[in-house]
Structures are given as C-alpha cells and as structure tokens.
C-alpha cells in the first residue's frame, strides 16, 4: 500500500466517522462543526485524487460559506446551546432509518465490489489532471454554456432568498405582520 493510499484511507475514515457524528450528535452546533471536519477531509481526498482545483473550491465554498450559513441559520432559529433531546425522531423512526440506510449500504457496496473490484486509478504521471490551468481550460472551453446558465440559476436563487426573507415586499398576510 502506497503512501497516497494510506492517507486516502485515513482521510476517508475521518470523513465517515465525523459524518456519523453529524447525523447522531445531540448538540446542534456540534453537528455543524463535525460537518466542517467531514467536508475538510473530503477536500483532502480530492487533493490525493489530483483534483486540486475542486479541493480548494470545496474548502472555500463548503467549509467557508455553507457551514457559516448553516451556523447563521442555527443562530437565527434560536437553536439551544447544549444537549437537546428533540433532535431525532421517535426510536421507531430511527430504527427504520437505520434499516433503510444499512440495506442500501449493503446493496451499493456489493454492487460496487462486483463492478469495480479489480480496477485501479493510475495517479502520479506527467500531468496533474485537476490543476487550476486544466480545470479552467475545460470550464471555459467545453463547459462555458452550462457555466453561464449556472450563473443565471445563482442569480435566481439570490433573488428568491431575498424575496423570502424580507418582510416588506411580497404578497400574503404572513409578509406584513
């Protein structure tokens, strides 16, 4: 096992462990902080897979922006600090969720082992597949139209979020009280 594989396994285990903590912890703010650990170690996995640009975008947008947004959401909905008992559904719901998740995990893992058991990713030859130069060239040559469409989508999401959260615009009685 090479160094890259060992590091990838380690980061993967960290990501999985902290993801389990995200969905099981009983403190709201801790869930957001464990999410930082998960997303950060996934960014490390991208680096090891030679996808540099995606890794840094992951750090900037997910760890930087999305988690801060989630923390703001927790703050604005007056989330309690400390242990709260009502984050999970009733025990039956949790058991059902665990059964669904474990069943799906079994199916997908068996299918993946059957399909890709012997395949290997060849890393570490002359070019870096995901450097900023090659990612930028691909993004602005082959994928420039979807990129522009995505900017319109972001604008729509921005306008939508503003309309939803301002009280003085938009119709309906809920907006005016």
């Amino acid at each position: 096992m090479s160094l890259v594989e060992a590091l990838f396994g380690l980061l993967g285990l960290v990501a999985l462990g902290s993801a389990v903590l995200v969905v099981t912890t009983r403190q709201l703010v801790h869930a957001a902080l464990w999410l930082v650990v998960t997303l950060g170690s996934i960014a490390g996995c991208y680096l090891l897979l030679s996808a540099e640009f995606v890794a840094w975008v992951q750090v900037l947008i997910y760890v930087g922006a999305v988690v801060v947004l989630l923390l703001f959401g927790l703050m604005l909905t007056q989330a309690p600090i400390g242990v709260s008992a009502d984050l999970d559904g009733p025990p039956m719901q949790r058991v059902a969720a665990a059964v669904v998740a474990l069943g799906l995990a079994g199916i997908v893992v068996v299918a993946a082992v059957e399909a890709f058991g012997g395949e290997r990713i060849r890393l570490g030859d002359d070019r870096v597949a995901g450097s900023s130069a090659s990612a930028g060239a691909a993004l602005f040559r082959a994928w420039v139209l979807p990129f522009e469409v995505l900017s319109v989508l972001l604008l729509a999401a921005l306008v939508g979020a503003i309309v939803l959260s301002r009280r003085d615009i938009g119709g309906g009685e809920g907006a005016r009280d």
Binding site: L28, A96, L158
Partner: protein, 118 residues
C-alpha cells in the same frame, strides 16, 4: 489506488446522509444530511473522472456545478426555514403538518367531481 476506495467512501457517506435525512426532525440538521449526500456524489464524480482520464474533465467540472447548486440550495433552504420559524416558532419537521390528512376524515370525490365527506 484501487477505484474501490473512493467508491466505497462515497457510497457509505451517501447512506449516512440517508440515515440523517430520515432520522432527524430538525430542519437544519436535515439540510446538513443533504449536504453529506451531495458530497458523496461529488467524491464519485471526481473518482470516476480521474479513473477514466477524461480529456474534458467532465467529472470535475460537474463537481463544481454540484457545489454551486448545493450552495444555492442551502441559501434558499435556510431562507424557507427562517420564514417557517418566523411564522410557526418551530423548525421541527413533524410539527409542520398543516397539509396532511387528518385520520379518518378522508375526502372522496364522486362522479361529478364534488367532494364528499365520509
């Protein structure tokens, strides 16, 4: 590196996300679990892109698109959750049940389309 390593990582991450979506009842925690599922898909996209050595970097570019859409989704989702909290003073998903059918009071429609209360 065996292709199985990132593929297994992403499938297990996706299943953890599914557990989170199904088991949690706080709306923001459900959003976090959705983020976990989106990240699992991203790991898959990057791994297969590197495995296939795609000239157009389709997998990595789609990962960037998914990250962008996830950011938009979180922004809108949090705006909706804040609006719900402002109107209802709660973010517990199982208490937002205004649209569900009350037990034993199903509305049926007969042949001419008018509602009949059973």
């Amino acid at each position: 590196m065996p292709l199985l390593m990132p593929v297994l990582l992403s499938s297990l991450l996706f299943c953890i996300g599914i557990y989170g979506v199904l088991a949690r009842r706080n709306a923001i925690l459900v959003l976090m679990a959705v983020e976990l599922m989106l990240n699992a898909v991203n790991v898959n996209l990057v791994a297969f892109d590197v495995w296939l050595r795609d000239e157009l970097l389709a997998g990595q570019v789609f990962t960037l698109f998914v990250i962008t859409i996830a950011a938009a989704e979180v922004g809108l989702g949090l705006a909706i959750i804040l609006l719900v909290f402002r109107n209802r003073e709660t973010t517990q998903l199982d208490r937002l049940d205004d649209l569900h059918d009350p037990a034993g009071r199903h509305e049926a429609h007969d042949a001419d389309g008018s509602a009949v209360r059973r």
